[in-house]
Amino acid sequence: MSDLKQLTSLQFIVVFVSTMIGVGIILMPRPLANEVDTPDIWFSIICGALIVGACAMIIVQLVSRYPGHTFFELSPLICGRYLGFLLNICYILYTLLVAAYILRVTAGIIKNYLLDTTPLFVVIGSFIIVSTYLISNGVGDVVRFFQLYFPIMMFMFIALGLLSLKDVDINELRPVFGEGIVPPLMGANVTFFSFLGFEFLLIFSKTFSKQKAKSLRIWMWASIGVTALIYMVFMALTVGILGIAELKQITFPTVEMAKSIEFQGFFFERFELIFLFGWIITAFTSFSAYYFAMWKGVNQTFRIHAKPLVWIVAALILGVSLYPSGLTEVFEYATYVNYAACVAIIGFPTLLLILSFVRRQNYAE
C-alpha cells in the first residue's frame, strides 16, 4: 500500500493534466480542422474547455456530497443495489472502451513512426504489462508516477513548441474569425472529447476526500485551464506550420509538425523521435488512469480484491484494442466511444446528482 494520503493542489493539477492530455494532442487537429474549416481552431479549445469545466462542476458537486467515495461506491448508495450495479457495469465498459482506444491509437503511432516491423500485439502487450505493474499497487503509485513524469512531458511540449516557432507562418492563422464565430464554436464538439479524463474526480476521490468543494472547483478549473492552454498553443502551431487545408489530410498532424523541424547547417533533425518518446509517457499516463479506473471498478463492483484478477482486466483491454482491423476502423469506432463518453461523464453524474438531491443524501461532514 502506498503512503500517499491527500493530494496537494499542485499534485492534483499534475494528475488531472496528465490524464487529460493523451492521444488528443496528436490526433485532434485533423478532425477539428475538418469540423471548423477556418484557421480559428484554437478558439474551439476555449469553447470546449468551458463546456468541460461546466461538466466538471457537476462532478465536483457530486463528489463533495460523498467525500472519499468513488463512482462505483456511490452509485449503489444513490440508486440502490441493482440499478447501481448496472450503472457500474456501464461505467466499467466505458473505461474499457476508452482505455482500449487510447492504447490502439498509441500503438498505431508507435508502429507508424518507431517500430514498424514489431507486431501490434507486442507493442500493445508490453504497454499493458508495464501499466499493470504501475496500477496494481493502488492510487498512490499512480499519482507518484504522474508526478515523476510530468516535468518530462512538459519539457517535451515546450521544446517542441519553441523549436516549431521558427516555421510558423502567421498568415496561415489569418483571417481571425473570417467566417464568423460560429464555425469555431461548433468545433467544441470535437475539442470536448480531448479533455476526457476529468471524470476521474470520481475515481481518485480518496486522495482529496478532505478538501472543500470550493478548492476542488478552483483546482479543477486550473487543471482544465492548463490543459486548454497547451492544446491552444499546439492548435495554433499546427495551423501556423501546416495550414488548415493540409491539416485536414494528415493522420498525425502534431508528429508531422515535429517532423518539419530542421535547422540547416546545424545537425538538428529528427526531433519527432525525441518528442514521441516524451509523448508516449503522456499516452501512458492517460491509459493508466483509465486502466486503473476499470480495475478499481471491477474491484468495488464485484467486491473482489485478488490481485491476479488484474490480468483478466488486462486481457479484456488487450482483446478490445486488437479488435479493429486497422486505424480506419479505430477512428470510425471513436465516434461510438465519444457517445459512450457523453453518457458516462455527463449523463451518469447528472443523474446521480439529481437523485442525490431528491433523496437528500449528504455524506459531507
Partner: protein, 378 residues
C-alpha cells in the same frame, strides 16, 4: 536467490541492444531522388546512393573516386521502383537523409505532381523538409555531374539556395511539405529550377505548376525571379544594378538590405483591386560615378526614383506573365484575398484563376537609401 540470478542472466541477453542492428555501410543511404519520363512512357526514378568507402578521407585519399552510385530504373509507381532497386543493389535504400528531389519538366508535363509526391508524403521515412527542384535537363545527367565543393550532386543542388538571401534572382528552396501544402490548398506554385552548363549545376529561375492539373505549365526566367520574390515577400537581401544608360554617371549598385511588401485588397463591383506597397531598405553598394557627394543632401533622389521604377516594373512584368500568359496565380496572391476579403474569397475560390486574370494590380515602391559605405572616391 536462484530465481533472481536466472532473471539477471536472462536480462543480460535481452538488453544487449544489438538486436536487428545493421552496419551503416550496409544501409543504402539515399542523397537524392530524380524523377524523369522513361522511354517506355512511365516513370524513371534515379536514386543516388552514398558509397561510404569511396568518400575521400581528411588525410588525403584518392580524390578522384566517385562517392556515389546512381541507380536508375523505371516502373509504374515509385514504391515498385524502390523495391526493384534490390535487383541491382543489396543495400536497402534508406531515405531519412534525403537531400533533394528533382523532377524533370518533361515528366511533370504528362504526370500530375500530386500523384508523384504521394509516396513522399505517405511514407514515414521521408521528411517534409526535403527541397524539391525542377529541371529541363536529363535528371540522370544532373545527378552524374561531379561538383567541386560538395561530394554529392544532390547536396550541391540543395546548397544552391544558400545565397538566396544575397541575390534575389535565386528562388528560396521549396520543401516537399510546402509543395503538398500548395496542392491541398489547390494553388499554383513555383518549383525552383536548375540547369546544366558546362558540367556545372546552376540555379535557373523556376517552373510553374498549375493548380488545374498540377502539371508543369511553363518557365519563369531567372531575370524575373526578383519580381516574383518581391511579390512573395520573402526577400532578405539582394542587389539592384543600374547600368550607365539607366542612371547618370553610372553604373551603380544598390545593395538591398531588406524589403517588406504590404498588400491592400479591395473589391469594387465584383472586381478585385490589389495594391502592393513595397518598402525597400538599401545601401549604396558600388558607385562608379564620381560627381556625387554623399555627405551632402540631394544625391539620393535620382537613385531612389530609378530603384522605385525598377522594382515596380519587375513586379508588373511578373504579374503580366501570370495574368496574361499563364492565366494562373502562381504568386500566392489568393492568400491575401483570403485574409482581407474572406467573404469574397469563399464565393470565388472555385474559379480563382479566372478572377485572378481579370484582377487589377497596382504597385507602389518606396526605396530608402540608408547608407553609402566607408569612403568616397573623388
Amino acid at each position: 536467490m536462484r530465481n533472481k540470478v536466472m532473471i539477471a542472466v536472462l536480462i543480460l541477453f535481452l538488453l544487449t541492444g544489438c538486436w536487428d542492428s545493421r552496419e551503416i555501410e550496409d544501409i543504402g543511404i539515399i542523397m537524392g531522388i530524380g524523377l524523369e519520363k522513361s522511354e517506355e512512357g512511365n516513370v524513371e526514378m534515379v536514386n543516388q546512393y552514398v558509397v561510404p568507402s569511396q568518400i575521400p578521407s581528411a588525410h588525403g585519399g584518392d580524390s578522384n573516386k566517385i562517392p556515389f552510385q546512381n541507380i536508375s530504373l523505371s516502373g509504374d509507381t515509385l514504391f515498385q521502383i524502390i523495391r526493384n532497386n534490390s535487383f541491382e543493389s543489396n543495400r536497402p535504400p534508406n531515405y531519412t537523409h534525403l537531400k533533394t528531389i528533382l523532377f524533370s519538366s518533361s515528366l511533370l508535363k504528362s504526370e500530375r505532381a500530386d500523384e508523384l509526391i504521394d509516396l513522399f508524403m505517405r511514407d514515414h521515412e521521408f521528411r517534409r523538409t526535403t527541397p524539391v527542384f525542377i529541371t529541363e535537363e536529363s535528371v540522370n545527367d544532373v545527378f552524374s555531374t561531379q561538383p567541386t565543393k560538395e561530394l554529392f550532386p544532390a547536396i550541391q543542388i540543395k546548397a544552391l539556395s544558400e545565397n538566396a538571401g544575397r541575390n534575389f534572382f535565386i528562388p528560396e528552396n521549396l520543401s516537399i511539405g510546402d509543395m503538398s501544402k500548395y496542392i491541398s490548398e489547390n494553388k499554383s506554385f513555383l518549383l525552383p529550377g536548375l540547369k546544366l552548363e558546362e558540367g556545372k549545376i546552376l540555379s535557373d529561375g523556376a517552373g510553374i505548376i498549375s493548380s488545374d492539373t498540377f502539371q508543369f505549365l511553363g518557365w519563369v526566367d531567372k531575370s524575373k525571379m526578383g519580381g516574383v520574390r518581391f511579390i512573395l515577400n520573402d526577400i532578405k537581401g539582394g542587389y539592384i544594378n543600374f547600368s550607365k544608360e539607366e542612371i547618370s554617371d553610372g553604373p551603380l549598385v544598390l545593395e538591398l538590405k531588406g524589403s517588406n511588401t504590404t498588400y491592400e485588397v479591395n473589391v469594387e463591383d465584383g472586381k478585385v483591386i490589389m495594391h502592393l506597397r513595397i518598402e525597400a531598405t538599401t545601401s549604396l553598394g558600388e558607385d562608379w560615378g564620381n560627381y556625387r557627394t554623399h555627405f551632402r543632401e540631394g544625391w539620393k533622389e535620382e537613385i531612389e526614383e530609378a530603384s522605385n521604377s525598377r522594382i515596380e516594373k519587375s513586379i508588373l512584368e511578373v504579374i503580366k506573365l501570370a495574368q496574361e500568359e499563364y492565366k494562373t496565380d502562381f504568386l500566392n496572391l489568393s492568400n491575401w484575398i483570403r485574409i482581407y476579403q474572406p467573404d469574397f474569397w469563399s464565393q470565388n475560390k472555385k474559379n480563382w484563376n479566372q478572377v485572378f486574370a481579370e484582377m487589377e494590380v497596382t504597385v507602389e515602391a518606396k526605396t530608402t537609401i540608408t547608407d553609402f559605405g566607408t569612403q568616397n572616391l573623388k
